[in-house]
């Protein structure tokens, strides 16, 4: 027997799959895992959508209210004050950028755009986390 006609024989031997008695159990285990992953993904996407949507809606509605001047909160921790100041700084920068490119209108202030961008980022991050989880 030459090596040329031996290789197909080996491939045939490899192509014969062994009969495993628990084949049905294995298939059920895979289906169960698929169902669990599908349910988890649905929950994660729903949650991300709800959080993102809630933030976008509340900030859009907030943006339609009369502008409030930046105020340093009278009470609260130093960290909270720093966070608010940073948010106002970001608002100012974004407002200036939007003014420059002419993208701002009466209904969408820099702050509302800022928060909508945050909401979009949160939703994107949640999607990324779901994708990462699936790959793991």
């Amino acid at each position: 027997m030459s090596s040329d006609d031996f290789d197909p024989m080996v491939e045939r031997a490899f192509s014969r799959s062994p009969h495993l008695a628990d084949a049905e159990d294995f298939a059920k285990a895979v289906e169960t895992r698929l169902k669990r992953r599908g349910r988890l993904r649905t929950w994660a996407l729903t949650l991300a959508g709800l959080v993102g949507g809630w933030m976008a809606v509340t900030q859009s509605l907030g943006g339609m209210m009369p502008d409030r001047a930046p105020q340093t909160p009278a009470v609260g921790s130093a960290a909270m004050r720093d966070l608010q100041l940073a948010a106002f700084d970001a608002q100012g920068s974004l407002q200036a950028m939007l003014d420059q490119v002419g993208l701002v209108d009466a209904g969408a202030t820099g702050m509302s755009m800022f928060w909508m961008a945050c909401a979009a980022l949160v939703a994107t991050a949640a999607l990324g986390a779901v994708k990462l989880f699936q790959e793991i």
Partner: protein, 184 residues
Amino acid sequence: MPKSLRDLHDVELAALAAAGGRREFGELVRRHGSAVRGLLRRMGAQASEADDVAQDAFIQAFEKCAEFRGDGTFVAWVKRIAARLYLKRRGREARYVEAIADEGAMAPDTHGHVDLDEALKSLGEAERLCVSLCHGAGLSHPEIASALNLPLGTVKSHVKRGLDKLRARLSPQPTSSGRAAHVV
């Protein structure tokens, strides 16, 4: 009258699975689960490890089902996924050195025949992996070299030596009655 799942071809089932059909994918797992698990065992995985990796491979196949275009067979596609997952899982960073062969020479059974699974046990670890990846998972020599972090020439020689040993094990053995027993 709608076809039952059993009547559908793998490619049709894969297309339905790509659209989210878990039942259709379950049918594919029923058809090919044993083949994938068998390959992993032939590569050297213990039964429980082989089952874990095979499950992961099928889950990954379900997620990527849209990428299966029916160029080859579905089972070959999943086998490749499973083989890669197994190698990744074992974290084969180290290069394979000349291995281990000649351990536990295996005698044919009383009827003079040896099956493939038994014959593979007579190969060194690297030879067994290379032969299984080549003939079981359908990977090319360069793909195996890349997956195992080995030079191409080394992979080729592992495959050749492994096949030579398999040939010696699987060749029909003369029985006491003088008739050759055939490979199962």
